[in-house]
């Protein structure tokens, strides 16, 4: 999709549902918008069925608002709570078989490069912790080893939420979940460290409790994956339904975990990525606005 394709045929404007008209007249396509502009434009996400207070839903909303070129982005998703939300999203997206997301994204990115050699097409994987660190880890790491130019974003809600609460590699040690009654016996997998060792040029951990920072991180990760190498962003967004928290307390819980030092905001930028980002005029402009 490119912005030029997004015009309603004359005569059909009247019957187009309102949200489409609004996307055309006030959507983010072809405009340099970000988290700071939320509330001033028609967002890429519509009404969705995720639970009240879902931190993953908030994270997705912020991620979508931070895409540098939504009209030239394809998101590759995987099964999980987020896949119910992607059907409401006005960005090209592919639902892949659970765990296969980075393999699908690899093929897609390569095909897009052949098909549109003169255009930048961003391929962004957005998948749950179960899909990323457990069942899909092989595909995820192989794509990093191969230095595929894709961005991988993990929605770390610390549980297999969509299937009713099994423990994942990202559940905290000791976590007792609906389907893990004995408590988890080992700590969270340190995937950011693994990502760095496996060849990612940009790695960051972030949470939706820091919306502007999240926007910046997502943007940088996608820009780095255009030219330099794979990038990985881990978004801490624990699931209130499975951890039995009142929905209004989720952000506070995230902040508490950060204060306690259990969750840390981190960023690793390779020297090449650092130089590349520094040279990007557009990145500078954004930094100035932050």
């Amino acid at each position: 999709m490119s912005k030029g394709l997004f015009r309603i045929s004359p005569g059909f404007e009247d019957v187009m549902p309102a949200e489409y008209k609004e996307l055309v007249t006030n959507g983010p396509y072809g405009r340099d918008l970000g988290v700071k502009d939320l509330g001033t434009f028609k967002e890429l996400i519509e009404e969705h069925p995720l639970c009240a207070g879902c931190a993953e839903a908030l994270a997705l909303r912020l991620i979508l608002a931070s895409l540098p070129s939504p009209e030239d982005t394809v998101i590759v998703g995987s099964t999980g709570c987020s896949s119910l939300l992607f059907t409401q999203v006005a960005v090209q997206n592919i639902h892949s078989l659970f765990g296969n997301q980075n393999a699908v994204a690899t093929g897609l990115k390569r095909a897009l490069r052949l098909r549109f050699p003169d255009k930048v097409k961003d391929v962004v994987v957005i998948a749950g912790d179960g899909a990323t660190v457990d069942i899909g880890l092989d595909m995820v790491m192989q794509s990093w080893f191969r230095r595929e130019l894709i961005t991988t974003i993990m929605l770390d809600n610390e549980v297999y939420a969509n299937t009713g609460g099994q423990e994942s590699g990202m559940s905290p040690q000791g976590a007792v979940l609906y389907m893990a009654p004995l408590g988890k016996k080992f700590p969270k997998v340190n995937l950011p460290e693994i990502a760095r060792e496996a060849g990612c040029a940009y790695v960051a951990t972030i949470s939706p409790a820091l919306p502007r920072r999240l926007g910046k991180v997502v943007r940088r990760a996608i820009l780095v994956a255009r030219e330099i190498g794979p990038s990985y962003v881990q978004v801490f967004c624990p699931c209130p339904t499975n951890f039995k928290w009142p929905s209004a307390q989720v952000l506070q819980k995230i902040r508490d975990r950060q204060k306690e030092g259990i969750f840390k905001v981190r960023e690793y930028v390779s020297p090449e990525a650092e130089a590349y980002l520094a040279g990007l005029e557009v990145e500078r402009q954004h930094d100035e606005q932050e």
């Binding site: 394709l5 997004f6 015009r7 309603i8 045929s9 004359p10 005569g11 059909f12 019957v15 187009m16 549902p17 309102a18 489409y20 519509e46 009404e47 969705h48 069925p49 119910l84 059907t87 409401q88 999203v89």
Partner: protein
């Protein structure tokens, strides 16, 4: 060519109607069309479509993304030709702007979704529905669902090779063909009632 006995008639045919292709219905060659599973000359199909639309109580066009969005040269002209046809037969449009299986539910008063098209057809009591500009893979799914769960008479104005799961299908539909169809409808409308509202009088189809 083997001739199938299977007729593609309005449903409800049950939860999972067979794909017409699996029942031996074959797509028409260039210059031909399908009416209820039988190959007919294109002009006969024009006549059948005009009769169905003019006799309908609530004829509705379902324009899909390929005609709703002016995504390449020529689409705006095709859209205009569709609008002229709608005007002549007195039909309105309920769009299918994209194919996302929207949750929790679409608003059936304002759009149709290929993953649950029956909602829109039931809600609006549509007796004749016309697919135009809907990409083949989703037209196939939606037409089968409609035949499974409703008694809506479906017509596919297909830009490619046609849809055997519609009750009537044209193939290679472009602006010229839409204009010929519009002319056929205009002539029939001018001839005035009585309108049959039953099976079309088409030569080789019945």
């Amino acid at each position: 060519m083997a001739v199938s006995e299977y007729q593609v008639r309005p449903g409800p045919e049950g939860y999972l109607p067979p794909a017409a292709a699996s029942m031996g219905v074959e797509l028409p060659e260039r210059g031909a069309a399908l009416v209820e599973g039988r190959v007919v000359p294109e002009d006969d199909a024009f006549q059948a479509i005009a009769e169905k639309l003019l006799a309908a109580r609530n004829p509705v066009f379902f324009p899909g993304p390929a005609v709703l969005w002016a995504w390449k040269d020529g689409v705006a002209e095709k859209a205009r030709a569709v609008l002229r046809l709608m005007e002549v037969v007195g039909a309105r449009a309920i769009p299918m702007p994209d194919y996302r299986p929207k949750y929790p539910m679409i608003n059936p008063a304002v759009e149709i979704n290929p993953n649950h098209p029956n909602l829109t057809i039931w809600h609006n009591r549509i007796d004749v529905g016309v697919f135009v500009g809907v990409h083949c893979h989703y037209a196939n799914v939606a037409l089968k669902i409609i035949r499974g769960g409703t008694d809506c008479y479906t017509i596919a104005l297909c830009g490619e090779v046609g849809h055997e799961d519609a009750m009537i299908t044209l193939r290679d539909v472009d602006v010229k063909k839409l204009e010929r169809l519009t002319e056929a409808a205009r002539a029939l409308a001018a001839a005035g009632p009585p309108r049959t509202g039953v099976m079309p009088r088409v030569g080789t189809a019945v």
